[in-house]
């Protein structure tokens, strides 16, 4: 039986710049990596299509500049797509291209269907608000108006990401990088979103802290069955977390499949290079 995708993305394009006669046509454009040498337009994401299935972790790997973060920001509506469609399998949003929705509806999806953990915690947290307040922010945005309720939820979430409860009223600015990421994860999970986006959550953390955060993500996935898109330029992270993997290069998907398969038998020369450097 073929399971229905939770998220279905078709031909997502994102460019920075308006393009010129030499680069406007996708089939004939000659780019240097991802940008047009004639006009300087950057084609950060080109014809990205994929499905995300319920309960899976989809890995996205690729070198710096390959368009991973741009793709995530488009998915989370931080950036407008240049073109493309995305569909969420949800009764209230059936058949609607979510990229084309009003910003109010997009906000609704962000607050109720998605969680996001940014590479840089500054983007995901209000550093000078309490940690419990940071989590409550997402609950408030989803319509909760009950303080004790939100405090209780926050407490449970912070506990689940191993933030000591006596620190829950402290501001994340006084936390270590690993702790900040864990607060971000708690916040992203607060509305039980069916989809969680994680952009380079472990980059910049010490190796032992990295392992700790990766374990946490794996446990959350096992326990909640939430679907995740995990972006990393580090194949080791992808190998540990992802069931399926997409390899991106210069804004395009060059290879995709089960993570084990890609690691054992990479098809594209670039992927082969990536995999062999990991071994």
């Amino acid at each position: 039986m073929f399971e229905e995708a939770l998220l279905h993305v078709c031909n997502l394009n994102k460019q920075f710049g308006s393009g010129c006669s030499q680069c406007s046509n996708p089939s004939s454009r000659m780019l240097e990596k991802n940008y047009c040498p004639a006009c300087g337009t950057v084609y950060a994401c080109q014809d990205i299509s994929f499905d995300l299935f319920p309960g899976e972790i989809l890995g996205i790997v690729g070198e710096s500049g390959s368009g991973k973060s741009t793709m995530m920001q488009c998915m989370y509506f931080d950036e407008e797509v240049t073109s493309g469609e995305a569909f969420i399998n949800d009764t209230t949003l059936e058949g609607e291209n979510v990229f084309a929705l009003s910003s109010q509806k997009k906000r609704y999806i962000r607050n109720n269907k998605y969680g996001m953990v940014y590479q840089n915690p500054v983007h995901g947290l209000k550093m000078n608000f309490s940690s419990v307040g940071n989590i409550a922010e997402k609950l408030i945005a989803a319509g909760n108006r009950h303080v004790a309720d939100m405090e209780q939820t926050s407490r449970e979430l912070l506990e689940s990401v191993h933030i000591p409860l006596f620190r829950m009223k402290e501001e994340p600015q006084y936390f270590s990088g690993g702790m900040q990421q864990r607060v971000q994860i708690a916040k992203a999970l607060s509305n039980n979103p069916p989809v969680l986006f994680l952009d380079e959550v472990t980059t910049g953390l010490d190796l032992s802290v990295q392992a700790n955060v990766l374990d946490l993500i794996k446990n959350i996935q096992r326990e909640s069955g939430i679907s995740m898109i995990v972006v990393s330029h580090d194949l080791a992270v992808i190998r540990m977390l992802a069931d399926r993997t997409i390899v991106m290069l210069n804004g395009s998907i060059i290879e995709e499949g089960l993570t084990d398969q890609i690691l054992e038998d990479p098809q594209h020369a670039y992927t082969q290079q990536l995999v062999y450097s990991l071994l």
């Binding site: 910003s103 109010q104 906000r107 209000k126 608000f129 309490s130 419990v132 307040g133 409550a136 922010e137 408030i140 945005a141 108006r145 009950h146 303080v147 004790a148 309720d149 939100m150 405090e151 009223k169």
Partner: protein
């Protein structure tokens, strides 16, 4: 009245422009209308926004009252009154009932206002979302999208830190079920007076160049969580040491002689009127 000035200081064009902003504000309750704030012969921090509204709506028949934190006789209130009077020749009063236009900073009078009256409030910080969002472009968007999580978050943080919402003044309100609005730094005690007010309430921020309004008979609700209901400052068991009033907003003073805490009406004209009435009643009683 000075000979060579326009009526009410401004030229007709300026007054019309401000009146247009006022009309716009009345049409969209709680919405901050930008306007071209003018230089005034008065310090910027002190109510130039309110003064510009007062000057552009006042007519020869009007009677003006100006209060600063409840007091009619403060230097600021007096100098504003003088400027308006010098350029219009209108009558001024300290009695709330007798005024048709009341310009105020930090208070709404204790005497209920009527539909014949206009209350002009001076606003230092018109944007209730500013503490969570520095960009004007973003706050405009948030208002447009009815997205006020940030204001709720501020209240939530106060509860986390102090166990209650700690806004002493300027506690945010929702106007007409739509726009979040800073009621100006009035005590929470005065917030309910805005709800279904018979008088038109105009709010002006000079430095921030914004005018907004609560039209008569408009719903105004103070932001509050389900399990932390909105409460006003309580003066239960307290009475004014001068006029004996209860259920009014009071200042807390230290009695210089015995060091005890005493209370006194913050609205001085209200207090004075009560004292006069009491005196009159005394006299009448004696003459019966």
């Amino acid at each position: 009245m000075k000979a060579d000035t326009h009526f009410a200081f401004f030229d007709e064009g300026s007054k019309k422009e401000i009146r247009r902003a006022v009309l716009h504000a009345v049409a969209i309750p709680g919405y901050q209308v930008p306007f071209a704030s003018r230089e005034m012969p008065i310090a910027r921090g002190w109510g130039t926004g309110g003064l510009q509204i007062t000057l552009s709506i006042i007519g020869r028949e009007d009677v003006l009252k100006v209060i600063d934190q409840g007091a009619d006789e403060s230097v600021n209130a007096v100098s504003i009154k003088k400027l308006v009077q010098d350029t219009t020749g209108v009558l001024t009063t300290e009695s709330t009932q007798d005024a048709s236009v009341i310009q105020s900073r930090h208070r709404i009078p204790e005497v209920p206002l009527t539909k014949e009256q206009i209350l002009v409030l001076q606003v230092p910080m018109p944007e209730p979302l500013r503490p969570v969002e520095a960009s004007e472009y973003q706050t405009k968007r948030l208002h447009a999208e009815d997205e006020y999580s940030g204001a709720w978050l501020l209240l939530f943080e106060q509860i986390m830190k102090y166990g209650r919402t700690a806004t002493d003044a300027d506690h945010p309100v929702v106007v007409n079920d739509r726009y979040l609005m800073a009621p100006s730094p009035i005590p929470r005690f005065d917030n309910p007076k805005m709800h279904q007010s018979e008088a038109l309430i105009l709010l002006g921020a000079g430095r921030e160049k914004k005018i907004y309004a609560v039209p008569p008979y408009t719903d105004v609700t103070s932001l509050a969580f389900d399990d932390y209901p909105f409460t006003v400052e309580s003066f239960e068991g307290k009475r004014c040491r001068l006029c004996g009033a209860e259920d009014v907003f009071m200042d807390e003073l230290i009695d210089e002689e015995n060091g005890e805490t005493v209370y006194q009406c913050n609205d001085t004209s209200y207090c004075l009127e009560r004292l006069n009435q009491q005196a009159k009643a005394e006299v009448e009683k004696e003459h019966v």
